[in-house]
Amino acid sequence: STSATNEKTNMLLMSVWSCFFGQDEEDGTEMGEGDEWMQGKTLIKPLDQLDLTEAELKEEFTRILTANNPHAPQNIVRYSFKERSYKPISSVDQLAVHFVLEGNLLHQDSDEARRQRAKQGGEDAGDVEEGGGEERADSVESKAGKKEQKITNQFNFSERASQTLNNPLRERGCQTEPPPRANFSATANQWEIYDVYLEVLQKQEKNKEKAKAVPKKDDDKGKKKMMLVETQSDDITKVAKVAKIIERMVNQNTFDDIAQDFKYFEDASDEYREQEGTLLPLWKFQYDKAKRLSVTALCWNESYKDLFAVGLGSYDFTKQGRGMLVFYSLKNSTFPEYIYPTTSGILCLDIHKHLPYLVAVGFYDGCVAVYNLKEETLQPIYKSTAKSGKHTDPVWQVKWQKDDMDNNHNFFSVSSDGRVVSWTLVKNELVFTDIIKLSLAGAVSEGPEGVQLPIMACGTSFDFHKQIDYLFLVGTEEGKIHKCSKAYSSQFLETYNAHNMAVDAVKWNHFHTKVFISCSSDWTVKIWDHTIKTPMFTFDLNASVGDVAWSPYSSTVFAAVTTDGKVHTFDLSINKYEAICQQPVVAKKKTKLTHIEFNPVYPIIIVGDDRGYVTSLKLSPNLRKKPKEKKGQELPKGPEVEIAKMEKLLSLLREPENSNA
């Protein structure tokens, strides 16, 4: 059937072609059936037409009409990555678009339509509503003001819902340990702030020192050891200072009345006693281990007015043994502040005027030593040895001098071997210099090989002039007093035939530059003017006089102690011939008093005896009299008064002498 229809279509086609192009050949074969209107024309053969036979002309050619697009390419090749080669595409799109016209109709539910409606709605709202009107009432109304209702399909609408899996909620918490808490409270006082500042300052200073001392590494080890030791003995030693304070307080309580007396008591009865005065006993100082020893030296400390030194030893030639250096404070009478036991008995001591921690001590065995109270050791920091010029006989007196030109400390000592020696503290050594040798004038002895040796006098005491530095007095065992100068080593400036027995003490007056006093075992105390060879005053005390001392507050007051246990106090301005106070101060009658010293500030004296006790006594007002001021005249102050007082006395004495002479 297709071929038949094809024939017909071919005929149609041919007839049409022949009309237009004049093709006859094919028409000729098929003409008989349908081309009536074409017969009128004659067939013209084109020149290049094929000549075909009739068999060939009748051959049926089948033509198939397909919907294939003739323009579609049929040999499209695409690269296939899977096969890694170009492969022809089997199916090709056959759609041929001939004409496209895009319309301008919008669906009323689409977004664009709504937008446009909204635009129009603003302009002519009424129109829209009216226009909406009858036909499309439902749909327009539903859009105009109300919310859209879901228009469900009547036919096959089914509501479907699904529930998603809700993840279960989980609560996760975390708890940490709370930070440790501590309660802190503090006060911010002025002094707390001050303390902190001080600490910072100290740290800064330490850092500075460290920066300077960095190269010294050897000290570190030593420091470490020190640190360890400190921590071990921490507990007890920290209480040391406090314990001392408490001890003093306890003592103060126990001896409260004495302390009150010391400070405030003034003997009122002195007003009724014309000239006499009394001594009020205050504290008694004793140390257990010093019971057998006698007090051989006393010295007040110039800087710490309540501190005094006691030298203990023995005057007895046969009973020589150990000695002790003991320091007491008035604040604590039961126990000494410092204790230094020594191998040999001490005979004399002196505390440096400006350096209260340096003490020079002279021993019975001829040594001299210097103690430093600041040091912890019980040993002296310097000690003279046989090599370094120690005395061969007991040292009876030591005295500090002013620092020499090299700023070294130095002191003098006098001994029975007849030498007055100056000792200088040079670094670690004690360097000695013989100042003078006391030789008995004219006396010589025969030494070995006929050499004549001068016999040395035995020095028993000396004293340096307060103002004239080089001038000093030496008392000897023979009873002579020599006035010497540091400059002349062999000659005396003057010699006084003072006493018949050894001169136990010789002391310059604190105020009057010419006056000195001496005492001796020959029971006498004599006052001299150094320009005159004979004594100004002589006092006989009925017993061997151990020591004599001028008072620091008056040029005419002095006190002496005797072996019968009495203290004799004199005031020359009141009574030139007698003591204004003669008082036994020790309980047992056989106790001999050995030394006496006035306190530089307080009106008390300390007296040492041969049983190792030191008694302190307060001077009653009568003993401390100052010259009365004349009416209307200001009381002249200072040493000039004292000097004048003394001078007056001396002048009185001199006049009769002059007149006599």
């Binding site: 006060t187 006082n189 002025q190 002094w191 702030i193 001050y194 303390d195 003995s233 507990d235 007890i236 030693t237 920290k238 209480v239 040391a240 200072k241 406090v242 314990a243 001392k244 304070i245 408490i246 001890e247 307080m249 306890v250 003592n251 309580n253 126990t254 409260d256 039961t334 126990f335 912890e376």
Partner: protein, 94 residues
């Protein structure tokens, strides 16, 4: 050093009229007691701190040396230190 200090403390304890001795450290613990009354430590510690604070407030360069409390029966003496407090109770009239 420590021997000396111990000796001093012994002397204080055996001194005439002394009833008791207490050493208190900075936290208030007692380390040496020779008396039956321990409550002294805490109370006196506070009082001493207050006294010291007063003294130093008046002048920061100053410091408390000791404190005496005299009562009818006896006298309490407190000497403070940087770390320690030494308390001595004495009957002064004996």
């Amino acid at each position: 050093m420590s021997a000396e200090v111990e000796e001093t403390l012994k002397r204080i304890q055996t001194h005439k009229g002394v009833i008791g001795t207490i050493v208190v450290n900075a936290e208030g613990n007692t380390t040496l007691i020779t008396s039956t009354k321990v409550d002294y430590a805490g109370l006196l510690h506070q009082l001493t701190m207050k006294a010291r604070s007063t003294v130093r407030d008046l002048d920061p360069q100053n410091d408390l040396t000791f404190l005496r409390i005299r009562s009818k029966k006896h006298e309490i003496m407190v000497a403070p230190d940087k770390e320690y407090l030494l308390i001595v109770i004495q009957n002064p009239s004996e």
